[in-house]
Amino acid sequence: MTAGAPARRPQHARFALPWTVRAERRLEVPRWLPLATTIGAVVVALLIGGAILALAGGDPIAIYAHILRSSFGSLGVLSDTLVKATPLILTGLACALAFRMRLWNIGAEGQLLMGAWAASAVVLVPIVPAGTPAIITVPVMMVAAMLAGGAYGAIPGILKAVRGVNEIIVTLMLNYIAALWISYWVFGPWNEGGFPITPQFPRESWLPRLSDLAEAFPATSGLTVHLGLLVGLVAAVLVHFLLYRSRLGYEIRLIGDSPRAARYAGVNVVRNTIVVFAISGALAGLAGMSEVSGVVHRLQLTISPGYGFTAVIVAYIAKLNPYGVVVAAIAFGALILAGREIQPSGIPAMIQGIILFSLIASEVFLRYRFRIERRAA
């Protein structure tokens, strides 16, 4: 605005700043903007988190540097980061799929636990006799975990579809119930030695690790990455295909964007609600299997440090895109890996909360464009 132009006075000018910010509704969003706001939001969140750490008497730069070094600093820790990312990929996909239909599945944690339990049951009950080769045992564990997670996920789906019950509350309650269910088995029938753990599983039930190839390729020695990562990557491709190349995916996106339009178009919302919740639960259940079979080789009370909750942020940061989920899961895997050594233990959760907040807040830039205008004197 030039000096001579007539000044348009904004109506709500309460503060006498020399500029004023005007918000205009965006009619279309430039392609580059979502990614830019996401990156900007994460940077802002890290700055805010750093400020809080500094106020609490910590050294934010040292803490962030420590997080980077202990998660990407060498091939060994990179491998550990990918191990932490694996369950996040699967649970993140579970959330992204459900959220796309605006089904708030906050129950990936419980579904993961049920999957871990079912995979353990295959070995400990036992469902396949001891000594069965891995080529049979491992797939049976996967199927059992997907069935258990899927069934557990279908509960809120059915309640929502048939009776309109709020799925957020139901999935959260089911998380608590699943955690108590795991407690019962690791303290009770499957307990070993008084600790909240089960006996170690036989080798036939382990997912192969990269380090298993150490005899042929010495470079892989000590690398903990297991087949679950590949399962997660394949799942990302399949979920992408499901969402963007299949009829079900089209219906999911239609319901997510406009439930009313979907109903007029004759989409079966009731059936899709149940199906999506079941697939979502099955993906999360697979994450549980991957943890017991690929990482700890037993069921234990602390099988998940809250992967199913972090998954909500992973899905959101990825803007519900399956490939984005993979990238976000690796970043958060790094945070979880490094976070184990950071005291106080609440810091990673706090940073996650700030990142999620900052992300939601940043979406205002997708809806509005802001102009800073110089106010005429």
């Binding site: 009776r163 309109g164 509350i169 108590l180 303290f187 990673p348 706090m350 999620l356 907040f357 809806r367």
Partner: protein, 322 residues
């Protein structure tokens, strides 16, 4: 297993749920869902307890605990009311942030010894009434009595006063309210903040009165979510919320009491014989929440009977909508 003792304890533990539920009723009546109750409660709990440990003054702790919950809720208000973001996701973020921050702040508090608490008292005359006296008015914490007064006060405020009429208007039909000169944004901010204050009070009531001490995120142990379920069960009515909160409180207390005796109704007590079975007992409140929600949902829910019509929908001035 004296029913009077269980019910009296249920009233005390239920008071925590009551505070949180009434706060959420205020926010939701104004049209804003705040799923961050668990996080706000934890912040209220840790700030209240930390203040009481540091200053020796539980009342100061109570006030600062409430303010902590209120401040956190303002974040939700800015993001959902001004930025018009998804209320569900913002509420979840609030829970993440609140519980993470509370764990950081409460790092050294679990080792704190005994501190001065909010005192208990019996009400003269009323405590002498048979059955009702020992359940509601004998040796209860002062905050429990605050809860008793809060229920009719909240009901009266919402249903019989002019500000309450504005509150309901903002939640049912913000456009109409705006046309009549009610400041929709300001009222929504105010009631989300009020909800935060009450959630902070609920958290403070745990650590300073009902179950003293700081036990990291087990301090609340999912009660923020149960409070949200109680709001739905109560159809956004404070009186029904009190009923639900006290009933849940009694169940939580019963779970503890069931583990003690060697025999139950003349039979050997399975929970005494095998302590791992108590995990199933502990599932009970969560199973019950689901069953209650299923019972009160269905047809009524699809027509959203009792739910504020504009619940969860951001208000944008000048746009088509409610």
């Amino acid at each position: 297993m004296d029913p009077i003792v269980i019910l009296a304890a249920g009233v005390a533990t239920g008071t925590v749920l009551l505070f949180a539920a009434i706060g959420e009723i205020f926010a939701e009546r104004a049209g804003v869902i705040n799923l961050g109750v668990e996080g706000m409660m934890l912040m209220g709990a840790v700030v209240a307890f930390g203040t009481a440990v540091g200053t020796g003054n539980p009342w100061l702790g109570l006030v600062l605990g409430m303010l902590a919950g209120g401040l956190l809720s303002l974040l939700h208000a800015v993001i959902t009311i001004s930025f018009q973001a998804e209320q569900v996701v913002s509420g979840l973020a609030l829970t993440f942030l609140g519980s993470g921050l509370a764990r950081v702040l409460g790092e050294d508090l679990s080792k704190a010894g005994a501190i001065a608490l909010i005192p208990t008292a019996s009400i003269p005359f009323l405590s002498a009434v048979p059955v009702v006296g020992p359940i509601f008015f004998t040796n209860q914490n002062l905050l429990v009595y605050v809860g008793f007064l809060l229920v009719p006060a909240a009901w009266y405020w919402i249903n019989r006063t002019r500000p309450g009429l504005h509150l309901r208007a903002v939640g049912e039909s913000p456009t109409a309210a705006d046309t009549l000169g009610v400041d929709v944004y300001r009222l929504r901010y105010a009631y989300v903040f009020a909800g935060g204050l009450f959630a902070g009070l609920a958290g403070a009531a745990i650590t300073l009165a009902i179950q003293p001490g700081w036990f990291s995120d087990l301090t609340t142990g999912g009660r923020g979510w149960i409070a949200i379920a109680i709001v739905i069960f109560a159809r956004w009515n404070p009186v029904w919320a009190a009923f639900g909160a006290f009933a849940f409180g009694a169940i939580q207390r019963m779970i503890i009491d069931l583990q003690g005796p060697q025999t139950l109704f003349g039979f050997p007590n399975p929970f005494f014989e095998d302590h791992t079975l108590t995990f199933f007992l502990e599932m009970l409140p969560f199973v019950l929440v689901i069953l209650v929600l299923v019972a009160v949902s269905g047809k009524a829910m699809r027509k959203r009977v009792g739910a504020p019509a504009a619940l969860g929908i951001p208000y944008v001035r000048g746009e088509r909508g409610h």
